[in-house]
């Protein structure tokens, strides 16, 4: 069971990496903004599985924080992106 779960963790991680490559390459900001989304789902999946593998139940709490902060980061991404549209100059 542990091997299976570890394998799944590794796989999701690899998928996550692949997704990050595609997202970060761009072309626009909107694409990059998805990075936090991706981590908010795949990263949490990795954490949850990792918690099950290593028997660290509190990894779930980290996932909780990750979910919250990833959401927050996404909103910050969007907000900053929008604010740059609204105002021409800096600040």
């Amino acid at each position: 069971m542990t091997e299976f779960l570890t394998g799944a963790v590794g796989l999701i991680l690899a998928i996550l990496a692949l997704g990050l490559v595609s997202i970060l390459r761009g072309p626009g900001d909107a694409d990059r903004m998805m990075a936090a989304q991706l981590i908010g789902t795949a990263g949490i999946a990795v954490l949850l599985l990792l918690g099950a593998v290593t028997g660290v139940p509190t990894a779930v709490d980290v996932a909780l924080i990750l979910a919250l902060l990833a959401t927050f980061a996404s909103i910050a991404f969007v907000k900053k992106g929008l604010s740059r549209l609204d105002t021409d100059g800096p600040g």
Partner: protein, 314 residues
Amino acid sequence: MSIATLFEIVLAAVVLGLAIWTITVSETYSAAVGFVAYGLLVALIWVRLDAVDVAMTEAAIGGGLGGIVLLGAAARLRESEAMTAERPGRVVRLCAAALSASIAMVLAVAVLILPDPAPTLAPTVISNAGATGLANPVTNVLMAFRAMDTMLEKVVLMLAIVGVWSLASDQAWGGRPGPRHEADPNGVLAFLARLTPPAGIVIGIYLLWTGADHPGGAFQGGAVLASMWLLVIMAGLADTPPVSSRSLRLILVAGPGVFLVVGLGGLCFGPAFLAYPVAFAKPLILGIEVAMTLTIAATLALLLAGAPERSATR
């Protein structure tokens, strides 16, 4: 090679790849996004290293809030990128690369040749846990054994606030930090900003509470609360408080203040400064942590909001 090791190598490679991308990418905004991703993923390494307390801190403060403050600055400074100074020449870059690589090598060697069995304080920490009544060893170290560092670090946070505020223009002094956020009150953002904070506040308090016996604590809880507050501010549902507000000032000094008072109590009535009487250790520490969580939440949020920019009345 076991499958676990394979997983670790993949994780390390992803994190390192992100680090290199963050450094080398040409756009600062992209670098900031990359750093947020890096910070959130480093938390996975910390879980793997069985340091869940740090994983939470790194995800919340290091990657999360730290990344976001970088991102905000990158967005504001984007126009300036075109006129920035030239990159150093190829020789300098090569030289820097070689030297950085040698430092990395030296560090790697130093880590790999550390003695076996490794010295550790874990048994000492755990055998002394009875003195505080808390089961989370990290909280014990932070709040009891090395309480001085924690208290001073709270003062560092406060000084950072003083430093950031001191950058205000004289006219804006005493006013509200950051730009005023306007958002459609019926929009998606406002919806999210009404929906998320209740959950976030519960999680923040949960983290503080569970920190006594399980990973978590004032820092992690405070960071979550801070992000929720900022979310409400960004959605335009609330405004940042003016920095001259007395109650705000009191919240900002509450954490180190209570810490100091309890410490002095230990000096007057107990064996030493920052010593807790065994019978009251747990409530005292929790009391300090509650005050600290409030302070940390307010401090982190205000550090992100920046220097006062608008007069208090507007």
